[in-house]
Symmetry: C2
Subunit: 365 residues, 2 copies
């Protein structure tokens, strides 16, 4: 089998033991004679999977009992509409704009009739290379919520401290750093995340929402209604059963590994090594303000587009996959999610050293 | 491995060769060193999968080039809202009510502001044991569409001929009989189906929509907007990549088998055998009008709840899974989707004979 390191920003690398277990029982789940994909979502076997997934996630993240955990479809992108639809009707919804995904969240909220959207801070003028200053943000007391993107997958920034929103609920798109480091759930009214980075396969969205925020009024569609989804325990219709099963295996893997404290330590070490290599390099540099650097998504550039292209091409040849930066920012990006192995970081750093030795000073490409 | 026959109404039995292939390449797709679940949705490997899936489906169903094929999330239930939202704003939307799923479609449409919902025919008074007469339906000429549920999973009925809607587009929820028999796509403005019966795993929804029906006005959410989804080739955000891959394998399997003509023949034979056994029985009977009987979902009852329960319990013991009828109708239901093997039907019939011999005439349960 070809050895690769998969730096994809998502769908991303999954833990090998998870894939091996899924492979082993793909045709015969727990001696049922059926694949997980073939289980009725109303069967006791699947109910066990979805309940166990929820319990494992609750333990891992320390989710208090007054929060509901939902397993939905549609990705973070559908949440961009569901949040204002359920929570901000005839109210003001505040957003902090820290990059492409924040902008999408804002633009979808603006489409919902009756919602006043207010961007209370932005780092757009800094080309999103930092998190904006938060000490002077003004939040209307009657705002429905303040929405942030904790980790900016494309730009490679992360909030190192959360905005103080007082009694106004903080809502976080945590798609690209959920389970990567410790968060205090009580700091949030709602957290949501597409699964395809640290949780499992694409097609599953996890929502963690405080009981009192569940909408009292019906949303315009049962499928888009948090209260209906919560009351039916994510079984209002057929959920993405296989994706939930893989998420369960990922949660088990992470629990065995020592939980979020353990993985956070690993993640910080992996990122620190790569940042050190970038900062010590004469060829590569980081476009991101040092204080706001993500430990999940690490963009870097040579400031020479041809050289960037050469780097990515050479890297791909030796099995370093998906190092190309997002089309909106260019350069390179290494996504180092939970399942990305430490030796992959070491290998990348070696490769960067060699590439630098060969190409520094404008030697022929 | 335990031998079972899985009569589940969905998620349902999948073709064994599909599961085996998925298992074989689960950790190493096409020698990429990665699982399909780990592929970036922007990678050429995944683009190939989604394009190939579409082409195979187009060939199987004979989808003309003026129809778009979308791979979405949210199940048929989300389509219940998307259809009126995109296609019936300030218009009348007509529905034919043939069972639980039609009723849900109608009730979701009623929630959309600006849509006038009209039920133009219903078999509710007949407890949905038939398709209503269609020769006298009245369709307003300016109606946005007429919506039907071609096959009623819970009630076990199917349209044997389609309503004549003239220039008004016919929209069909085909979740439980797509790919099971030949349909002429040109008879429809739009077809949609949750994947978890004849296509693949839960979490994928296939939409086939005629070009001219794509909404001109933006829907209230990009994710819910057919035009945006069509223009981005189902890659507006991360699609359910693994489910699309399994769908591709199912389409390949069906193509190799001889396509829809071949599977339709098998399906009719399987269903005919079971219906004959029910009709020839003195214990079991079918609650469905003979003319409108589904070849996919076959409900049957003993008219004795205790005996039904005993039947299901005994059947489960010998590996006949999910024979219990939907909670709303009771009794038994055998779902005989494309991947359900013929020998499973024969085994069920044998079991029914033995059960009848033992319990006919009120012998002790």
């Amino acid at each position: 089998m070809k050895e690769v390191y998969n730096f994809s920003a998502g769908p991303a690398v999954l833990p090998k033991p998870v894939l091996k277990k899924a492979q082993q029982e793909l045709l015969n789940y727990h001696d049922s004679g059926m694949s997980v994909m073939e289980l009725s979502h109303r069967s006791s076997l699947f109910e066990e999977i979805i309940e166990n997934s929820e319990q494992l996630l609750r333990q891992l993240m320390g989710i208090p009992s007054n929060y509901r955990v939902l397993f939905l479809q549609g990705g973070a992108s559908l949440q961009f509409s569901m949040i204002p639809l359920n929570l901000a009707k005839n109210k003001t919804a505040c957003y902090i704009n820290t990059g492409s995904w924040s902008k999408k969240a804002i633009s979808e909220a603006k489409k919902i009739a009756g919602v006043t959207v207010k961007t209370i801070a932005s780092s757009e003028e800094q080309h999103f290379n930092c998190i904006p200053a938060l000490d002077q943000i003004e939040i209307p007391k009657d705002a429905a919520y303040v929405h942030i993107t904790t980790n900016n997958t494309i730009e490679g920034t992360v909030y190192t401290k959360l905005p103080q929103t007082g009694s106004v609920p903080l809502i976080a798109d945590m798609s690209s750093d959920i389970l990567s480091k410790q968060y205090n759930i009580n700091d949030f009214g709602m957290i949501y995340a597409g699964a395809q980075k640290n949780i499992g396969p694409a097609g599953l969205t996890v929502v963690i929402i405080r009981d009192d925020l569940l909408n009292q009024e019906a949303a315009l569609s049962s499928m888009l209604d948090y209260k209906i989804q919560a009351e039916s325990h994510s079984l209002y219709n057929t959920p993405p059963t296989f994706a939930i099963y893989i998420a369960q295996l990922v949660f088990e893997w992470l629990t065995e590994l020592g939980g979020i404290a353990a993985i956070e330590k690993q993640n910080k070490e992996k990122a620190a090594k790569l940042y050190a290599a970038i900062d010590n390099s004469k060829l590569f540099c980081s476009p991101v303000e040092p204080n706001d650097r993500s430990i999940m998504n690490i963009p870097f550039v040579t400031n020479n587009q041809e050289l960037d292209k050469k780097f990515i091409a050479d890297a791909t040849k030796i099995g370093f996959e998906n190092l190309k930066g997002h089309r909106s920012v260019g350069g390179m990006r290494a996504s180092l999610y939970n399942a990305f192995p430490e030796q992959g970081v070491a290998a990348l750093i070696d490769f960067m050293h060699n590439f630098e030795a060969k190409h520094l000073g404008g030697q022929s490409i």
